[in-house]
């Protein structure tokens, strides 16, 4: 099973993993990645995630197709939430399933690197003190993370 979801609701990693492995005996390795809303300074009330409806799903699907072309995956799920997300809450989930762990790990990391830089989502900070929260800036590190996939695997 391969699926992409863009939703406001939270997700359940155990349920997603279970769906992926249901009635299958050929899956030896499942990797999940969960991205959460951080707030180390204790200044946020929430992150607000804006997205481009339609394109978000399409682009996540294209990234998933890229991953399937590179590794022998037996299943994968991508879920990205939008709307207001409080500190400590989940933002994004990637689940990959394969016979062996190397493919599951590599595909999950690839999917996150590409989601970060290609999926049309933008984060805005809402602050406790009511000050105008800014848009989160894109990180060079995220673009650089893509370089490790050129010429691989």
């Amino acid at each position: 099973m391969f699926a992409v979801h863009v939703q406001t609701e939270d997700f359940d990693i155990a349920a997603e993993q279970k769906k992926l492995c249901a009635r299958r005996l050929d899956i030896g390795a499942v990797v999940t990645f969960t991205g959460l809303c951080r707030d180390e300074q204790g200044t946020l009330t929430a992150l607000e995630l804006e997205h481009y409806p339609g394109m978000a799903e399409e682009e996540m699907g294209r990234v998933l197709d890229d991953a399937r072309g590179r590794w022998p995956l037996d299943g994968a799920v991508l879920i990205h939430r939008f709307g207001k997300i409080a500190p400590g809450e989940n933002i994004v989930l990637v689940v990959t399933a394969s016979r062996h762990r190397t493919a599951a790990f590599a595909a999950a990391e690839f999917l996150m690197d590409y989601l970060k830089t290609r999926a049309p989502f933008w984060k805005k900070e809402h602050r406790k003190d009511g000050s105008r929260g800014g848009w989160v800036e894109a990180k060079d590190a995220d673009d650089q993370a893509l370089e490790k996939w050129s010429g691989r695997p």
């Binding site: 804006e50 481009y52 990205h80 994004v92 290609r118 848009w135």
Partner: protein
């Protein structure tokens, strides 16, 4: 040519609207031309596109580079670098 333009994040905030329909003059061939044309429409556009090369573009919901032609596009989107995940 009539085309729907959509804006996201601070591009949307600076322009002051989420979308609009525009009639493009024939001189607008590429995305770069379109950005230059929009910039001349008012200071809100000039502000949104002040760092033009930084702005990302999608045509019909797929990423494109700024030298891509706009001919045949139904929906052209402008937005900042993405920060999801």
């Amino acid at each position: 040519m009539s085309v729907k333009l959509v804006y996201f994040a601070w591009v949307r905030e600076r322009i002051g609207k989420p979308e609009e329909s525009v009639d493009l003059p024939a001189a607008v061939v590429t995305v770069t031309d379109l950005i230059a044309w929009l910039t001349m429409r008012g200071e809100e556009y000039a502000y949104a596109f002040e760092n033009g090369p930084l702005i990302r573009t999608a045509i019909d919901k797929a990423h494109v580079k700024h030298d891509s032609p706009v001919a045949g596009a139904r929906e052209i989107a402008f937005f900042p670098p993405m920060t999801g995940g």
